[in-house]
């Protein structure tokens, strides 16, 4: 059954609560994460059931290879929403609770919002700053939105999260530099040739990392791709897989002069490419630069070739070192990303505070009016000499008094800064004036 999320903003007293429970790569091994993953269909089904059972009013399920998380706005009937969400989570996947003991994290309020914003920014990812998570979040949210499982609160939070993710990637270096050896090799080639479209590459050998390099080059639209291997069959197999052309090993020297990029990952004890071979290749290219990625261990390219003019040679250690530099650079950007997150949490809290403040003043007004009517009725009962006109006047004056008393706090609460600190004050006001008692 599909239900539409209720709107807590239009309900009487506004109490915006957010809850999150989940497991990620830090709290659960991959074998467990596989078992608690949700397909798109299951995510929507879970959102429906959580709302039908009154556990949540709004719900979004995020499920990727590294995390499964339930975000929701708890309903009034669910005082311990996180507990109920966890219960539902385990029963949905038919996993004994004991097996997930200590694997879940639970966050509520601003902490839940902060967690989502950190996820969107890639700060909670296994690979710091990875970009895919933002797309996965967008897809999960859009599906929940189209399904009617979200409401004003989760819409606000998820839209904020998507904005945070976008800003962190455009305003910081958190996701900017390559973090894998294969991507680092391709990015470096781009620093030499610019756009790889119209350029050519030759792959020597068929190692796993070389294949990743080829994949990245293909994604960047490399013009021409050739594969050469001692075993022609393996070369043909890889060439077919990557949409390239296989070349016989005997033609190595003759084809060396064509490609702009050479990727070698040959298992050989000696050097496969000597300085002389590369020198001849560059000469055959009229001196145009050659970018060589040597992924072989032991190295496939002779050491002394690195001094050749217009030859840019990177071996696996060089690339590893660059990845390490990039990792440190990404980590150094975390404070800037956190600052963006804090800014958006403040925005969310201000929005939440303004709504809650508006509602608290209305509740106070209702309560004051109730007391006013009671007092007037009681006191005027014994004053027979008061004319109806005077009674009306007293009623009018007391009404005005209430409005005046509430005017200033209302303004301060609605437009005041530092709303996050004031929210605690709002709770105190509710408690002091017993605003929740009647509703309970």
């Amino acid at each position: 059954m599909t239900t539409t999320a209720t709107n807590p903003i239009r309900a009487g007293a506004i109490r915006i609560r957010v809850a999150l429970i989940g497991c990620n790569h830090r709290t659960a091994p991959v074998e467990l994460r596989e078992r608690i993953a949700f397909s798109s269909q299951q995510a929507l089904q879970a959102a429906d059931e959580l709302r039908d059972r009154g556990i949540l009013e709004e719900a979004v399920v995020i499920s990727t290879c590294n995390r499964s998380e339930l975000y929701g706005v708890p309903g009034d009937l669910a005082p311990s929403a996180a507990e109920a969400m966890e219960e539902y989570f385990t029963s949905f996947h038919r996993i004994p609770r004991g097996e997930l003991e200590g694997r879940f994290y639970r966050w509520t309020g601003p902490d839940a919002v902060r967690h989502l914003f950190r996820v969107a920014a890639g700060l909670d990812s296994m690979l710091l700053g990875e970009a895919e998570i933002l797309g996965q979040l967008r897809t999960a949210y859009n599906q929940a939105l189209d399904h009617g499982a979200t409401g004003p609160v989760l819409n606000r939070i998820f839209q904020g999260a998507l904005e945070v993710g976008k800003r962190v990637r455009s305003e910081t270096e958190v996701g900017a530099r390559p973090m894998s050896v294969a991507l680092a090799g391709v990015k470096l080639a781009e620093r030499v040739f610019g756009n790889l479209k119209g350029h050519s590459a030759l792959i020597l050998g068929a190692g796993a990392v070389a294949e990743q390099v080829v994949e990245h080059m293909r994604n960047r639209g490399i013009g021409n791709l050739r594969v050469i291997n001692r075993s022609f069959d393996r070369a043909a197999e890889l060439a077919q897989r990557v949409g390239g052309e296989a070349v016989a090993w005997e033609s190595l020297q003759s084809v060396l002069g064509t490609p702009d990029i050479l990727v070698t990952s040959v298992s050989a004890t000696g050097h496969v490419l000597t300085r002389e071979m590369l020198e001849r290749a560059i000469a055959a290219r009229s001196g145009r630069p050659v970018f060589v990625v040597d992924l072989g261990v032991p190295r496939n390219v002779a050491d002394n070739a690195s001094g050749l003019y217009n030859l840019y040679l990177y071996n696996i250690d060089d690339l590893g070192e660059i990845v390490e530099q990039n990792k440190k650079a990404r980590e150094s950007e975390i404070p800037r990303a956190e600052a963006i997150i804090a800014e958006h949490i403040d925005k969310f809290e201000a929005w939440r505070g303004a709504l809650e403040a508006g509602s608290i003043v209305n509740d106070l007004r209702d309560q004051f009016h109730k007391h006013r009517e009671l007092i007037i009725r009681e006191k005027l009962k014994d004053m027979a000499d008061v004319s109806p006109q005077e009674r009306d006047r007293i009623a009018h004056i007391t009404e005005e008094l209430i409005e005046r008393l509430l005017e200033e706090p209302q303004e301060k609460l609605r437009h005041g800064r530092g709303m996050r600190g004031r929210l605690a004050g709002l709770e105190a006001i509710r408690h002091l004036f017993g605003l929740d008692e009647g509703k309970k």
């Binding site: 781009e190 030499v192 145009r288």
Partner: protein, 272 residues
Amino acid sequence: MTTHLLGVLSLALYLASFFFYARNLYVPSLWIGRLASLLLAAGIAAQYWELYQRSLALHTVPYDDLYGSMSLFAWLLGLTYLGLEVFHRQRAVGAFVTLLLVCWIVLLDVLMPHSLPAPSVPRGPMFAFHVTLNTWAYAAFALSFVLSVIYLVQDRLLRSRRLGVPFWRFPALDVLDRMARSSVYVGLVALGFGVAMGLAWEHRLSGGYSLGDPKVIITVAIVGVYVAYLLLSRNASWRGARAALLCSFNFLMVLFSYTFVNLYFTRFHRFL
């Protein structure tokens, strides 16, 4: 007064443009990049207006003195860069060019007198084209110098494997190489037409040519070294960093021509 205010306005716009280009270099953003280009274009427009006002006040070309000539140089440098930026769709160099413009204009304001020189005899449009085109050529060569220096830095970083933030932001070597060569082409074409205009103007004036003038000699030498650069940059053993180094050295000759030769050696090309 208006001229001075326009000068201040163009400086402010160049400074703002530098700020946004630098920001875009550090944190790339399409809109910040566009804003930087827009501010540069506005700075160029303001400086054009300043040169125009100066021209009206002098009743002749606005660059009849060293101040005017250097101001025109800055204006043409900005204009040439903006053209290359649009042509090559590459903004990463903007921060360096605008910084150069800002420093150049501040230096001009500090070193040069603000008072207008005494009006000189009007020398006709051919002379105006001659000076403008030659200054444009120098501006284009200055730009090729900036691009070549960035090429050399980028090449050094690639070889040293110590890749900082700028490395990932600078244009690729291939793009820098193409931009530098485009700039040199612009410079050579402008210089060719500029020299031709100058010779024609002189012939009309005196019926002869001052081919032995140091300025003419060094200009021919400049054409020679830049043509050599264009040829060698396609040659197997020069292509790349060596060509960029040659382009940087060539600019030293331009500087020498623009300063020492103009000020101390030539008889016809003094701006003081």
